[in-house]
């Protein structure tokens, strides 16, 4: 698609979509280098933890009376989506500002910084939907799903990932060094969240004094929603609460990110 230089401003969605086209052109060529981290890794965890470790687990109250594979399959999808979303919003965003400088190049055209941010978030969402769908499909022959609610789990994964991507993008937009703080994010936020936010075991096993850490983590809300849509037992009111938390996190992150994008790209 070409935009003629008439001095007109690109409509809001069209500008963002132009960015998505750019990402897609890159992805078509390099998708193979991402196959492992986006598609294969969650499957390996499903095999090792769901089937291998799960063979040692007795179905009981902790797993809601379900076998361990069924218990963790939805949560593994959401946790992989969270990790992908954070990964895609750290170094790639910093690179757009600092190393490849494609954000600077694009904002020299009629595309605005807000549209650059929108394009990034849309692209992350599409990637999460794609990798979630691939995981969900390959997990079928391993008997990981109880019903077609698995399709909704893919959507929950994308929503949770997006809620994490927005604030991390804001952080990346205010990073001017080589991104050392991202290592801290991975080690002190993402990794503990993966272990303790109810992906592998119910958070009721965490001492009460520390359980609030799980409650404020977006992954726990995503896990609850994901289990709810495929394993059942989700009441409307808690579901709305989880969605509201994720929406609030996304909104705060997106508003901050938009402000920082304008600050850094408009001279």
């Amino acid at each position: 698609m070409s935009v003629s230089s008439t001095g007109r401003v690109v409509p809001a969605w069209q500008g963002a979509w132009l960015r998505v086209e750019g990402y897609w052109a890159w992805y078509r060529r390099y998708w193979k280098s991402n196959v492992y981290s986006t598609g294969l890794q969650p499957l390996l965890f499903l095999l090792a933890m769901g089937l291998g470790f799960g063979s040692q687990v007795q179905a009981g109250p902790a797993t809601g009376g379900l076998s361990y594979v069924h218990y963790i399959a939805p949560a593994l999808l959401v946790s992989a989506a969270m990790q992908n979303a954070v990964g895609e919003s750290t170094y790639p965003v910093l690179s757009g500002f600092k190393w490849q400088k494609d954000y600077l190049a694009v904002t020299a055209t009629p595309v605005s910084p807000g549209q650059v941010l929108g394009g990034h978030l849309i692209w992350v969402t599409l990637r999460l939907l794609l990798s979630g769908a691939v995981y969900a499909l390959i997990a079928v022959p391993f008997g990981a799903w109880l019903n077609a609610g698995a399709a909704l789990v893919v959507v929950v994964g994308a929503v949770t990932g997006l809620a994490c991507a927005a604030p991390v993008t804001a952080l990346a937009a205010t990073t001017y060094d080589e991104g050392v703080r991202f290592n801290a994010v991975f080690r002190f936020v993402v990794m503990p969240m993966t272990l303790f936010a109810g992906t592998f075991f119910p958070i009721e096993q965490i001492p009460v004094a520390l359980r609030w850490l799980a409650w404020i983590s977006p992954l726990w809300h995503g896990n609850e929603l994901a289990r709810g849509v495929t394993l059942g037992g989700l009441e409307p009111l808690p579901a709305l609460g989880h969605l509201a938390f994720l929406a609030a996190l996304f909104t705060v992150g997106a508003v901050l990110a938009r402000r920082y994008f304008y600050r850094r790209l408009v001279v």
Partner: protein, 275 residues
């Protein structure tokens, strides 16, 4: 004009290797790494923290989902005590591989640190030995911290368990050497996925989280080929003090891997850097 009155007697390695490959200055590289990392203590602290979080997660989470596990001596043991030695082996592997691939690749391809070093009286084998020693030292530091927490949690029951630390160093050495040899083949950062592709399955499937008997027969053989499996077995057996002659085989496998890696890394580095 000065005359050399006396050449100091050199070590056997210096006499048998081709001149220029090794200058006996590997310790200078370790010194450099210590200096470079002295300002990055946070990286170290977080490296210590990660396996500890895993240990806590197994204590309060995973361990309560399963009953007792069967130890290497056939005695029942708590699941946390079953997993802890395996986590120590895996973290030794992860730390060593991380240090010897990502960091070596960066210094090799982008920072050109090694080109600069070779302009001084330092040879490729010094670089290989120096960088591998640093990776092992770093892995050793992490394993001492991990062992201390294991002891504090009451998971150390046998005096033989003190040998977990040298075993962790051996695992770190073997994987650092192989990792460094592999790092010289990498061309771009997107190929780091290949390293993950080797390390993560090894971490997940080398009987880290559940016994070998979970696998069907033919798969058991495949798992037993993994070097991490031998490291984990060695750790588990020392942790409870169940000694047997088969442990020599585990050690031999890891030593062979280390020798192969050091030889390969030095060969590749001299081929690539001394053109």
């Amino acid at each position: 004009m000065t005359t050399l009155t006396e050449t100091p007697r050199r070590g056997v390695l210096l006499r048998i290797l081709p001149p220029g490959l090794y200058a006996g200055r590997a310790s200078k590289l370790v010194e450099r790494s210590i200096l470079a990392y002295s300002r990055m203590w946070l990286v170290f602290a977080s490296g210590v923290l990660e396996p500890l979080l895993y240990l806590v997660a197994f204590q309060i989470g995973f361990g309560r989902l399963v009953g007792d596990a069967t130890g290497p001596d056939g005695q029942p043991m708590s699941y946390v005590a079953f997993v802890a030695p395996a986590l120590l082996a895996s973290s030794a592997m992860n730390g060593a591989v991380f240090d010897s691939t990502f960091n070596v690749f960066f210094k090799f391809r982008y920072a050109k640190t090694y080109d600069a070093m070779l302009a001084t009286p330092i040879g490729p084998l010094d670089i290989a030995i120096g960088e591998i020693s640093w990776a092992v030292l770093r892995g050793g530091l992490y394993s001492v911290a991990f062992f201390a927490v294991m002891a504090a949690m009451g998971l150390v029951t046998s005096p033989w368990a003190l040998l977990l630390i040298p075993v962790a160093l051996l695992i770190a050495l073997a994987f650092a050497a192989i990792g460094m040899a592999c790092a010289t083949f990498l061309r771009s950062t997107s190929q780091f996925d290949y390293i993950q592709l080797a390390v993560v399955p090894m971490f997940l499937f080398s009987t880290t989280f559940y016994p070998l008997s979970v696998y069907p027969g033919p798969l058991q053989v495949v798992v037993q080929c993994s070097p991490l499996y031998h490291g984990i077995q060695l750790m588990r057996e020392f942790a409870v003090g169940a000694l047997h002659p088969g442990m020599i085989g585990h050690v031999a496998y890891l030593v062979a891997l280390a020798i192969l890696g050091i030889w390969g890394a030095a060969r590749r580095l001299s081929g690539l850097l001394l053109r």
